[in-house]
Each structure stands twice: as C-alpha cells, then as structure tokens.
C-alpha cells in the first residue's frame, strides 16, 4: 500500500502539494507515482524564476522504465528546486514526501490550492491505477 499523507493536497496526475508557512508551496510526486515509475535515474527541474500556469509541464522524471512529465499543481513562480535530485534522483523513490521534494512555488493567487484533491479523493485516483 502506498502512503498518502492526509495533510497534503494532490492532483490527478500524481503530484502532491504542501502549503508552507511562508505562503509558498512545495511540490513533489506521490508515493504511488514513484512506485509505478520504479527506480528514477534522471530528474529535470525548471529554472528558478520561471512562471508556470496551473497544469503546465515543468519537470521530467525518468525511470529505468519510462519518462514522465510533472505538471504544476497551481499557477506560480518557481522559487526553489531540489538540486540534490540531480545527483541522487533515488531520493524521490526513498522519501517522496520529504527529501524527494522537487520544487517550491510562490502561488500566483492565494487559495488556488482549493481546486486540488484531498488525500481521500486522491486515494480513489491511486486505487484506479
């Protein structure tokens, strides 16, 4: 069974979003997604300062098996990326909600996270495969 922390928000394309105290949000991929992809070997992250529309493809994770796009869960500006993933992409497999975070965004408008899935709703998406 893959882990779905209740305090996070999710997308149907398997990203998670954490609201940080400073008003920014942190983004990664779910445990279910890393498990389905298998061992990651490359992670390509966006440039800091890039402005993203909600749903825009902004990163790529590549596993032994397949490449997969990562989509921005909300509109916003990239404020930080997890540089460690360049050398140790397996952090996403080992710790998808912690050390495997991918990027931080400053949301374009507050409260955009309302359109995202709750953990319970995401559970249903994950169960479908």
């Amino acid at each position: 069974m893959s882990k779905i922390p209740p305090e996070l928000k999710y997308t149907s394309s398997h990203e998670w979003l954490k609201e940080l105290p400073d008003g920014n949000v942190e983004v990664g991929i779910s445990d279910h997604a890393q498990e389905a992809l298998g061992d990651l070997v490359f992670v390509e992250l966006p440039e800091i300062g890039r402005q993203l529309a909600a749903g825009e493809a902004c990163a790529v994770v590549e596993s032994v098996k397949a490449a997969s796009d990562i989509y921005a869960p909300v509109a916003g500006t990239v404020t930080a990326v997890n540089e460690q993933l360049t050398r140790t992409p397996e952090l996403v497999n080992r710790d998808p909600y912690g050390g495997g975070w991918m990027m931080r965004l400053k949301p374009a408008t507050p409260a955009t996270a309302a359109a995202l899935l709750s953990a319970a709703d995401y559970q249903a998406v994950a169960d479908e495969g």
């Binding site: 298998g38 590549e62 098996k65 490449a67």
Partner: protein, 363 residues
C-alpha cells in the same frame, strides 16, 4: 488476468510489483530494480523464468529435424549436455524465435523457447516433427529458475547433495546435466556466470526461499532486462522478429553455413543476403546526455539514412543510457537519436557493454 507461474504467490508474499509479460503476470521488481541489478553483478540473484517454454523432443530423427529447423548447426553438438543458441528462421530468413537447444542423447533434445512465441513455435516445430516421427512434450511440470552472478554457482551448490554439487560445479559454460530431479545448465541471460535450473514445479518455492536464505537476492524482469542489455544480448520481439533477419540483428555469429550441404529453413534467403551484403546492421549506442534511449526512437546517421533503437535502457553499471539499434550498414561511430523531441548525440559501440562485472565501454 494473466497466467501465473508456480511461484506467483511467493512473488506477492515477497512484495513484488507484478506486470504483464506476454500474457504472464510476472514480477518486475521486489524493491529497487537497480539494487537487484547490482546484486547480480556483485554477488547473486534469482529470477523466475518459469514462463519460458521447455519442450522435449524425442525420436531417432530428432537431430535431423533440428538440423533443418535451426540456423545454427546441431551437428556441432557431439558431447551430451552441450547447449546451442540458435535462431529458428522462416523461408525468408525472418526470425521466428531464438532458442537454446540442449543435446541430451541422440534421440532426445531439449529446447527452451520464449514465452511470447510459444504457440507459433509449437505449431511450427510440430508440423515439421510429424514427418520425421519426432515427439514433442511440453514440460509445464517444470519450473525454471535463473541463478546468476559471480557467487551464483557456489550458493546453488549449497542446496545440493555432495554428488549433485560436484556434478553442477564441474559443468563447463554452456553445458547442462540432469542431476537427480534437477536439470542444471551453466547458461544465462545476464553476462554473468550462473545456472539455469529446471526442477519439479512443486519444489520451486522452497528452493527459492533457500536461495534467499543463502544470500541470493530475488530479482525481477526489470533487472533481467537491464542486465541482458548491458551484456549485449537480444530480446525477441524487440531486437529481432519475423520481419528482420539475423545479419541485421547482430546474430550473424549464430548462423552456420558450414557444412554447405545442411539445408536449413531460411538458408537460401540468407545466402542471397550474404551475397549482396546486409543493408542494415545492429550496433550498440551509448548516450552521454542525461536522457534514456527507448525502443522505436529514431536514429539519424551522418551522411544520410535512418535507423531505430530496438532496445534502450539506463545502464546501472555505466551510469548512463545504453541501447541496441538497427542502422544502415555504412553507419560510422556517431549518430543522433531523437529523444522526446530533441536530437541527442550518441556513440556507436560494439556490444557487450558489460561482462563478468566489468564495464567494457569507455565512459
């Protein structure tokens, strides 16, 4: 739901992620497939390959049958237990399957063919066997385990009685022997030393667990694919099929034109191709960019011409992507591959990439 090998429940109990492979539900990995890969390169791993099809052929004219069906020459098999890797071709020299034939006795050979080609192989072989009064017996009563890695043989030997252990350890590469209830062959698909063991299906689960207890890691089809690709070994359906012939699939070395009188199926077509020269060839590719080669990606050759990646993956040993590709015969040492909309330079190399734990390609 797909077919299950006799080890299906054990795979689930061991936490395997299952995938469909040619209609079989098979373990792709039990955890990290890269860790499984390294376990085989450094120590030992065990794979369930019971989905593969074991067929015993018996009858006085079995050798004659195989001399006509196989592009490699069973006439080379003079010592009992000797194995031969061969393509089985159609009249146009298209590859129906690749297989291993074991010579067990003059009237008794064993074939191991691919799971995905089982039906057409049985029909093809069966049609030719009838005329020569050779009997086919599919051995679904047997499970097959591949135990591979530098420590694989020693660890297998600890499971055997002393007589069988001696027999197994004495096997030369590409030989097999019936040792008690087990048929043990020093063959594999990883580029490492090891055994492939055919044993009664009912024993397979306990043997697997005893191998685990002896330090042999459970490995799935994911690691099997990265290992075989590093070893430069073809996968049927990816790297060759009925639309391609051995010379353009890196399999020319398996075709025996000697003796000239052996009239195997596909020979006439192959002689034509040999006379004109094959228009395409198989090469190995190494990608130094941070991306991964995948089958069906387009290969652009300097000076014109195009090819295609037939198998691609990430090589855990090289830390970068490798692949096999079919390209125009004139292709030199550099090409470009279209990877997710970008043209990336790739180096053309001669496989294998890795053998016996050592990287053979400059990185």
């Amino acid at each position: 739901m797909g077919r299950h090998t006799c080890l299906y429940d054990l795979h689930l109990a061991l936490g395997a992620r299952m995938v469909d492979f040619n209609g079989w539900d098979m373990p792709v990995a039990y955890g990290s497939q890269i860790d499984e890969h390294h376990a085989v390169r450094r120590a030992a791993g065990v794979f369930d390959i019971s989905h593969m099809c074991v067929v015993d052929l018996s009858g006085a004219r079995t050798r004659e049958l195989l001399a006509g069906l196989l592009a490699n020459d069973v006439g080379r098999l003079s010592i009992a237990g000797r194995a031969l890797y061969s393509c089985m071709l159609n009249d146009h020299a298209g590859v129906i399957d690749d297989l291993i034939a074991y010579y067990l006795a003059e009237d008794y050979f064993r074939l191991v063919v691919n799971a995905g080609t089982r039906d057409k192989d049985m029909a093809w072989i069966g049609a030719h066997a009838e005329r020569l009064d050779v009997k086919l017996l599919e051995r679904r009563d047997l499970a097959m385990l591949a135990v591979q890695g530098p420590q694989a043989r020693e660890r297998c030997a600890t499971l055997l009685n002393s007589e069988a252990a001696c027999g197994a350890m004495a096997l030369k590469p590409f030989f097999g022997a019936q040792l008690g209830e087990w048929f043990i062959a020093r063959t594999g698909y990883t580029g490492e030393d090891g055994f492939e063991i055919m044993l009664p299906a009912g024993e397979a689960g306990s043997v697997w667990q005893r191998l685990n207890a002896a330090g042999v890691r459970s490995c799935g089809l994911g690691a099997r694919d990265t290992l075989r690709l590093e070893a430069g070994l073809n996968l049927y359906g990816n790297d060759m099929d009925e639309q391609t012939q051995p010379f353009e699939s890196g399999l020319g070395w398996t075709v025996a034109f000697e003796p000239p009188g052996r009239d195997f199926i596909g020979r006439a077509a192959l002689e034509q191709i040999r006379a004109h020269g094959s228009e395409r060839k198989q090469v190995g590719l190494v990608l130094d960019e941070r991306a991964v080669l995948r089958s069906h990606q387009r290969v652009l050759v300097e000076g014109g011409g195009e090819g295609e990646v037939t198998s691609g993956t990430f090589s855990p040993m090289l830390g970068r992507s490798i692949g096999l590709a079919r390209v125009p015969a004139a292709t030199a040492d550099a090409v470009q591959v279209e990877v997710r909309g970008r043209l990336l330079p790739a180096r053309v190399v001669q496989p294998p990439f890795v053998r016996h734990g050592r990287v053979l390609i400059a990185t």
